[in-house]
Symmetry: C3
Subunit: 142 residues, 3 copies
């Protein structure tokens, strides 16, 4: 069994932003030398998430619009009220959405490639940017 | 370490439909010969998802009703408007729900069986059917 | 490759309750002796879930408030109506939220520790308590 661990760094430019990281993750898989196994992507943040979806910036705005309906940025939150003196803590919406969109993905690898479907791209979701963020990538296999 | 990879084919008959695939997945675990490890189920589609829940078709209608409230099929979406000439692309609701329900599950295996609880069935969720769909199943263990 | 499997027992005291289980899970990782690999946490229940978020009980109330908006406890559900004679089955809200919050997490381990970010705690989410609940923890690695 081989285990390979590395991390990606992502810079977001907006408060809410979807960023396609598929090619960066594919590069990591290739460099790992692991041909068959699992890639676990882990976002070590509570106000950003990761998902898989089509590369369509219009769709991304639709996704962000539904997220805003579920947990509005300007909602009435106890977390924000407690830290009302701290602009950087007005982010309960992002924490809540993190527990819905989730901060991890586990993707199978075969013959050196992720088994992504034709329309699947790996999307990092910034929900409290702009910030510099990390994705941990651990690959287990042979 | 053993790695076993196979895929299941699923035919949906409705636009929105929940299909219990537990026995098909259990059969794959058995055929893999892996007694202890992890099963990673991966749906290589952006408009279908997979989850675990009780086998109760009434509950499934409740789940679909909440999904329709979160992202209505007939909602106002930029993705749908951009492709308004294409009936097959009127599916932003399904893309959005894919990023909430998620297209993967990682289930522990012990003594040759998935550690599913008494009420847990593996449910494939079609959100833009009817279609023929795939579930990739990769098992890692011994 | 080493595979380690154990379970945690959790007692909830409320109908809806978030419980920080990070230190219990960290203890399991340490006892496993596995230094590098993946920890898969699996909740074998259809009315409880698991997630990662900040240790802030005010935020937890914000999360539960959004969950109540998505799938109200007193909502109109076919599952509840079918079992209207059974108080213990008035829990469609919990089943629905299980498929959104999800009953599993896969966390990378390096140098004997989970790669949790500074603000990430592992949170068990009871949605139909009080009950005694289980988390299965399977660790694969070296």
């Amino acid at each position: 069994m081989k285990i390979y661990l590395t991390e990606l760094s992502i810079k977001s430019r907006e408060r809410m932003q979807i960023i396609n990281v598929t090619s960066e993750v594919s590069g990591v898989i290739e460099r790992s030398g692991i041909r068959d196994g699992l890639a676990n992507l882990w976002v070590p943040h509570t106000t950003a998430a990761i998902t898989v979806n089509e590369h369509d910036p219009d769709l991304w705005m639709d996704i962000l619009a539904v997220m805003e309906r579920i947990a509005p940025i300007k909602g009435d939150y106890r977390h924000n009220a407690k830290y009302r003196w701290a602009q950087s803590e007005q982010n309960a919406h992002a924490h809540i959405l993190n527990s819905l969109i989730k901060p991890f993905l586990t993707i199978p690898i075969a013959d050196g490639r992720m088994l992504l479907g034709m329309w699947q791209s790996i999307l990092f979701i910034e929900m409290d940017g702009p910030q510099t963020r990390t994705i941990q990538i651990q690959i287990i296999g042979e």
